[in-house]
Symmetry: C2
Subunit: 493 residues, 2 copies
């Protein structure tokens, strides 16, 4: 079968192949018949649903509502904001016709040349333009503000080199688009959503992140300021896990969205947008998993506990199943999700490997002898440690174990990141150190030219100018010019 | 302001305009800058989210899992199933290019002729083809079956005449796609999901439906049998609210999907697909609402209770708010959602009209005198009846009231339907009766020709051949030929 563990490439052999093997073999996603578009398989989608539900709750707690805007954007809309069109109009799916007809030669269908659109439609790569063209009708007065909308949607960016979850032509995401009466309120909103993303990443995904600001080169096309959270993968490469943009009045000006303020004067509206995508799945997988497969944080695992019976006869199975039903009830009362795998077409050893591959946080194995001794064998996925515990108080024991796993994998990722984050003071040292991966904290003179040069010579980019931490000025490692503070460099996904 | 009630056209004046006014003025949806595509506004989307959550729970309870398949379908896939291509390839959005470039004359962007796709991509009008091309890789043996997948997605059908929610070029829906080892299992699945839809419609939307089978003319393109639920709107027109298709082995044959059965023989896989869409929003609105606005069933209302304070001073407001906080806590403990509207820029009368327009099931108004007497005024939206009740036990009182409203609006819709459902025995009578609207139960000889003739002459179609009810044979009202049972005719949306 395709599921043999030996086929999972190890991280040491080839990290990139390990990642791809894992995504496919753990049934998370696969490539589709359409170039660059993936199929998200049920197990992968179940993790994404957990992420969605949690993020959606956090958005609603911070006062946001969901809405839905069109998939298509008229071509002319993209050109209305000068920077935006540069960033997004280049690689995108263009709808030019609205009808097919039977091929005159009788073979299949062809595009009907009569059915050409007057203006081409772009499949949304992001929705600022269509949303701000809509907000124009929603906003007249300061009383109509703020607008705090989010949408869950699919978007398309025609990427040439794609990788499952990390970079695909079509991906799923949420995009928040807010409108405000004042600059400070919009800025505060962009910062607030950055905090929501950081909290989600750390508390739910167990992935520590650095919060920061992008340099001008890396800024979202159309933004005044782009805030981001940056995570570190196990191969020492950075991954941008979420962005929150302060858009100033750029889109309000592009779409002529003004409001009457309290002083009865017409003013342009202030904007933010913020998004995270199925790319988070890539971060989740790469941050924690090992050569046996996925390691999922309990808070996002589709099921947190799997129970495997070990039996030689139907009578044994019946006795085990009865006990399992009891334990399952206790676990569910504590809000713990459980799968009991009593399928008879696989041996326990196969099941053990399968659930390790799928990253189920806790595995229980129960045989006839366990039943006799009123015990069960528990394995935790993060450390692969086993213990035998008594039935008595087992649900509470597992509840604590799940909390411990959640904390432990965060700590492991945090310690790893700490171990590969260091200050570098000269460009020579930088060139050496960047080969080892990790976050390098360096002084930089703040110019796009220097940043560009470093990128060309070392393939490293400024991941962000961190919001927290050391703010001591210094001298740029490349030019020796003044630097306001150290910034974070890394090679990245 | 645009929200004045007087601007809501009455049903008697112009039913179609009343519907459109209501959708726009109650902030449910509006037309967008893209022809045929709507914007679903936050209040409308909140209702859709309630529907989604409930349906999703029901799908999961019946063993289904969610997944996600690509937005795009290679043009050649559509031609693989002969009937399917006839039904779906005609009016669809066709992606022909993947890049824009700056217009040589410097004005905006134009399609880059160099970036033409080798094979055009179709924005999915439905996903049977892309999903069955995927299932081919998932299915080898009977052990891989059944596959019970659903996806929540957007789809595009290039409709020429669109109406908010009822018929839009892009719409949101769910589509279930299942694969089975036997014909009977697939048929049972199609029937099961029809029952799920009927239950959802009746218990949650409070819309009674007839379950039936479509005639060959009205069958889904590629299906062997299409099951449907048919609802009746207040203007006497029918609305197809959901369909569940038994696809036989048509798509398995088109995409060569075979499995090894228990007898070790290769066989084609059996399939179903089933879907409901944002069209349900149209059904919900049209089934219950009145000339004052929306009437929402409590089970799908974004908030079930609104509380409006009536005060002359800040002190009065403070005292009222204190009591309201107490009542709100009690209501929330019973799982009832509440909005307290203490905004000071609108008068109570304006708020009353606004929440009637938005169909909030229960409205509480509380003034200084109420506080004195420990009472509150309650209005139920369905009947507009008011009562004054004491604080004591108010939460439980409201809980019962909500149940009663849910039951009552279902009953009202049921009684209305019963009053306009009748047997008709001659074609002359039919031509007269169809003008009055409603469901006509008639004998039909079972031929597409007769059905076609009736449609041309009267604009009525066979909504379905009902699964339940009278199965007495008779004679076709048009041709006098043998009829197996009465079928349901109506004009429809």
């Amino acid at each position: 079968m395709a599921k043999e563990l030996k086929e999972l490439t190890t991280r040491e052999e080839n990290y990139s192949q390990w990642y791809n093997d894992l995504v496919v073999k753990a049934d998370l996603a696969e490539n589709s018949a359409v170039r660059g578009c993936m199929v998200i398989k049920p197990y992968g989608y179940a993790i994404w649903e957990k992420m969605q539900r949690q993020l959606d709750d956090m958005f609603k707690e911070t006062g946001h509502v969901n809405a839905y805007f069109p998939l298509f954007i008229p071509k002319s809309f993209l050109s209305k904001e000068a920077d935006h069109v540069e960033g997004f109009a280049k690689e995108c799916a263009v709808v030019t016709h609205y009808r097919l007809k039977t091929n005159p030669d009788g073979t299949g269908v062809v595009v009907d040349p009569e059915a050409k659109l007057e203006e081409e439609l772009i499949v949304r790569p992001t929705s600022e333009t269509i949303i701000w063209s809509t907000y124009k009708n929603w906003i007249q007065s300061y009383r109509d503000l703020p607008i705090l909308c989010n949408q869950w949607a699919n978007v398309v960016r025609w990427e040439m080199r794609t990788r499952l979850f990390l970079r695909t032509a079509e991906f799923l995401w949420q995009e928040g688009h807010t409108a405000h009466a004042t600059e400070s309120e919009a800025l505060a909103e962009a910062r607030k959503m950055l905090d929501v993303y950081a909290q989600f990443s750390e508390e739910y995904m167990a992935v520590p992140v650095i919060k920061g600001v992008k340099s001008a080169n890396e800024r979202f096309a159309g933004a005044v300021e782009t805030f981001c959270i940056e995570a570190l993968m196990q191969d020492g490469k950075a991954l941008q896990a979420g962005t929150s943009h302060f858009l100033g009045q750029n889109f309000a000006k592009a779409f002529d969205v003004k409001f009457v303020n309290k002083e009865n004067q017409l003013e342009y509206v202030w904007a933010t947008s913020w998004g995270v995508s199925t790319r988070l799945m890539g971060a989740l997988i790469m941050a924690h998993s090992d050569n046996n497969g996925l390691v999922l944080p309990p808070k996002l695992a589709p099921f947190q506990v799997v129970i495997v019976p070990i039996y030689k006869s139907e009578e044994q199975l019946a006795a085990i199943s009865e006990k399992v039903a009891q334990i399952t009830t206790e676990l569910k009362q504590l809000g713990i999700s459980v799968k009991y795998d009593d399928s008879d077409n696989r041996k326990p050893g196969w099941k053990f490997a399968e659930y390790e591959l799928k990253g189920v946080p806790v595995r229980l194995a129960m045989g006839a002898r366990d039943l006799e001794h009123a015990t069960v064998e528990i394995m935790r996925r993060d450390t692969l440690e086993k213990e035998t515990v008594s039935f008595d108080g087992i649900a509470v024991h597992i509840q604590h174990l799940l909390d411990d796993i959640q904390t432990n994998i965060y700590k492991k990722a945090f310690d790893y990141r700490a171990s590969v984050t260091r200050e570098v003071n000269s460009y020579d040292e930088f060139k050496e150190e960047i080969e080892k991966g990790g976050f390098l904290l360096c002084h930089w003179d703040g110019t796009p030219e220097t940043e560009e040069r470093i990128k060309e010579e070392t393939k490293a980019t400024i991941r962000c100018i961190p919001l927290n931490g050391d703010k001591t000025p210094g001298k740029c490692m490349v030019t020796g010019k003044l630097s306001a503070q150290r910034v974070v460099f890394a090679r990245s996904y």
